[in-house]
């Protein structure tokens, strides 16, 4: 699935990828790919700007950690981020039910 098709859902997907544990940028992209069974092969350059914006909006927080001799930025959900994820999940379920009802 291309980035264009995912536009508008990317915030929710990134928040969902961080639901269970803090992750760094590359791991978030991998997590999305893994959970979607390879369907969400995101253009990698699109995820980092979204991470920075979500952090600026207070939905994520981040800190440096060390790995393999490199510094690595690790992101985690804030309380506001968890609330936003719950809201977006509800929005999506309502939307998906409506589409399913029309298409069925």
């Amino acid at each position: 699935m291309t980035g264009e098709a995912l536009k508008g859902h990317l915030d929710a997907l990134v928040l969902a990828a961080l639901r269970d544990a803090p992750l760094h940028g590359y791991a978030i992209i991998e997590e999305l790919r893994r959970r979607s069974g390879g369907t969400f092969a995101l253009p990698e350059g699109t995820v980092y700007p979204v991470l920075h914006r979500l952090e600026a909006d207070g939905l994520l927080s981040s800190s440096w950690s060390a790995a393999s001799g490199r510094r690595r930025r690790v992101y985690r959900l804030t309380r506001r981020g968890r609330a936003a994820l719950a809201r977006r999940r509800d929005d999506w379920r309502r939307f998906a039910r409506a589409v399913e009802a029309v298409l069925a």
Partner: protein
Amino acid sequence: MNYLDELRRELARVGIGGARAARIVEELADHLACDPDADLGSPRLVAERFADELGLAGTRRAAKLGFGALALVAALLAAAAADARYPQHVHDARAVALTGLLLFASAQVAFVAGVLALVRGLRRSLSGAERRLVLRRTSVALGAGAVTCCALLVHGSVFRPMPSAWIALTLAAGAVPLPFLGYAASSVRAAARLTPPGGRAPGLSRDLPGPLGRHARAVLATLVVAAVGLVVVQGAFFERSASEGPSRGLVELAGLALGTAVLGRVLGLFS
């Protein structure tokens, strides 16, 4: 020049520098270390995406900070107004009337522009043109807020005889919000640096929810009537005068007409 050097240069071109640029470069360097074959996109495209996303967050932040600073102005202005016990004879009646009128006008401009900025700024998605509109509205609101504060300082200085407690409260009400307004203005400048020019934002119709958006002019007219009506009732009630209400209402109507003519386009009232 390698990918990361080029990215650093492109980030500087779109207005991202300092610690933010260093962090972005370090994160993408880590990504490339994890996957040397990763396709991040061209440095120019990546830099523009960062500018777009950070500009969006910065615009929202500026609108919220601006509204917060203006709320402080409004609260202190209300406190000064509530504490006023107007004397029978005023020493410099003309200066008091002029600063009072300026206060009344600038506070309304600040309120309208600030609310409009916040309403548009809180939308989930904003085009570049809309972001510029939000920043323009916030700038107008902050400018009008600063004028309100300055008018309050002059008003507190020329209005005599008044109790010293009221004078102190009014001067504090004028001075205290100024640094907050300045801080909010700096956030507007920071967001504006990340927002490229071009395009035209939809007007008031996009500020209103759902079906109301189709009747933006009717909503605007209703708000004008409500504002004038409020001033008429307030003037008649507080001054206990049948003529004072309508005459203040006329001044309000003229002010709103003038304000709409001068600032309507800047504030994006019309599509």
